[in-house]
Amino acid sequence: MGIHATEVTAEAGRGRTADSEDAPLLQVKNLQVEFRTRDGVAKAVNGVNYSVRAGETLAILGESGSGKSVSSQAVMGILDSPPGFVTGGEIVFKGQDLLKLSNEKRRKIRGTQMAMIFQDALSSLNPVHTVGTQLGEMFRVHRGTSKSEAKKKAVELMERVGIPAAKERVNQYPHQFSGGMRQRIMIAMALALEPDLIIADEPTTALDVTVQAQVMELLADLQAEYNMGLILITHDLGVVADVADKIAVMYAGRIVETAPVHELYKRPAHPYTRGLLDSIPRLDQKGQELYAIKGLPPNLLRIPSGCAFNPRCPMAQEICRTEVPPLHAVTEADGAPLEGRGSACHFWKETIHG
């Protein structure tokens, strides 16, 4: 029964009905994740909210340890547990809260309705199976396809993501491919069953710059073609600019700023975002010392009180050390609302307008 139910909703989702236009594809509400380690409880995600619509790209930006990967792993349901635990919140995907589903139901959603692309394709692909086997596995397990049919589909997928001589290469192993080609295979695998949502966790970090652009372009093309929601996790501001619709900046397990992509670059409303933007090398500042945010990311076992960024913030005042700032709606100086903008800073007005 479970199989039929999920397949029906999968079809409905693919139909792009009026329903999916209104409600977001994925809505994460007040998500909290912690790691219970020997040294104590590390609060990796502390009340994160975001949403993604079909065809929309959300970029989640942050340093290592900001909780960007952990929150997406919680969405996929692949958190290493123990030590990781989702301790609160909701993950509403196509109208149902994933956290209330059984493990088996969540498993059936993975790969078919939401898929993930990982950072390092060499270690993320199994070294002892051919790429054909690994691609075909999606059809074999989720669709019950025969072996030969699955292989045919694997070849089609490889052609779809632009791998030359796919028919011959389908029997090769991951180590026989170049980095870019491997990442294409990762993408093909995520795409196999045409999911509604793809989470790409730093998909281009391990690649050199020219290949990065190709892979991002491919991802954007496929997303447009299948009208998928895409969550792009990255620490690279350059990657984000071209493909994302909106950005959420994370720091110490919280979203500190959200904005449509170009507005964020033009007018950051949080000192942390501004610091990130200022630390991008620029041609017109050649010869000057590059700006860097002082200090280190906080230890998640002991997150600073108040605003977690306060020890590194150039604008920090007394209130920043005592009160956690909520995500304020950001407006123009005259109070006119700015669509989709928010900043978790007590001094957002001074940051964006001052």
Binding site: S123, H129, H175
Partner: protein, 307 residues
């Protein structure tokens, strides 16, 4: 691949000559074999000289070795002091040793890997701690102690198994010696499996397999185990070579007339032909087993290619 195999086979020739010569020289250095022949009594010098001449023992060592090697290549491994050709002894001894090796190997594979997977998947829990402690104990105790204790308990006190193996060595009677012979390797297999399972369960490709929505059973068998067992199988292959070389201690304890038993007899009586003949065959078996392991490794891990 073919070239690699040929190269490896050619490499065996110097190893083969070297080991046989060393064994030959070592047995020679043990003392006068003819004196040993007579036991505690001093031999009649004339009779001893005659025996020496008959067996070619009056020639210099290098000539004896040369004669011996000539024999090997015509399929004659020499004659034991009791008049039996060494090849006949091998024919009697080897099937028994093979049977024992097979029993021990089965225990190693099933129990060793089974325990390893169990504790690797439940790291830090009770089952894991238990397996770790048990294997540590087994590794720390010498085989002859385990052998005699189990023989006494199962064979004598409780009468659950044969205390010694009757002639013909039926499989049933080899179960107890098999587990004694397997015990230490079994413990190593369990520990090795546990380590690789624990290591690989954190691997990125296992996470990918989970993200693909594969059922847990498939993640474990197709992705985790398939990778984790590569080093284990390599270890097992080498160990199979060692098992086929007979087991001096275990065969003595349970009175099994296998390779180890005859080898022991040969050493005690300074019977050069028997010792060198048996060891020669063991060397070949071991070299071939090692070659097989290396080839198997390439089959299991596609990243390894021999040229």
């Amino acid at each position: 691949m073919g070239r690699y195999v040929i190269r490896r086979l050619l490499q065996m020739i110097p190893v083969f000559i070297g080991t046989t010569f060393i064994i030959f020289a070592m047995v020679h250095a043990l003392g006068d074999p003819v004196a040993a022949f007579f036991g505690d009594k001093a031999p009649d010098p004339a009779a001893a000289a005659q025996i020496r001449q008959q067996l070619g023992l009056d020639n210099p060592l290098i000539v004896q070795y040369g004669n011996y090697m000539k024999g090997i290549f015509s399929g004659n491994l020499g004659t034991a002091f009791n008049g039996q050709p060494v090849t006949d002894l091998l024919k009697i001894a080897y099937p028994t040793t093979l049977k024992l090796a097979l029993v021990a190997f089965t225990f190693e594979v099933i129990i060793g890997i089974g325990l390893g997977v169990l504790s690797g998947m439940r790291r830090g829990r009770l089952a894991d701690t238990g397996v770790m402690m048990m294997t540590l104990i087994v590794i720390s105790i010498p085989t002859f102690v385990i052998g005699y204790v189990l023989q006494y308990l199962f064979g004598v006190k409780w009468g659950l198994a044969d205390a010694t193996v009757p002639p013909g060595a039926p499989f049933q009677s080899l179960l107890l010696p098999g587990i004694v012979l397997a015990s230490v390797s079994l413990a190593y297999v369990a520990r090795l499996t546990r380590t690789t399972i624990a290591e690989n369960s954190k691997a990125d490709y296992v996470r990918t397999a989970v993200a693909k929505g594969l059922p847990r059973r498939r993640v474990v068998t197709h992705h985790l185990l398939r990778n984790s067992l590569i080093p284990v199988i390599t270890f097992l292959g080498t160990d199979l070579g060692a098992l086929m070389g007979g087991a001096l201690v275990t065969e003595r304890i349970f009175n099994i007339h296998g390779v180890g038993y005859y080898l022991y007899q040969g050493i005690v009586h300074q019977d050069t032909s028997t010792v060198v003949g048996f060891v020669t065959v063991l060397v070949i078996v071991f070299l071939l087993a090692n070659l097989l392991v290396d080839l198997l490794y390439a089959v299991l891990d596609p990243r390894i290619r021999y040229a």
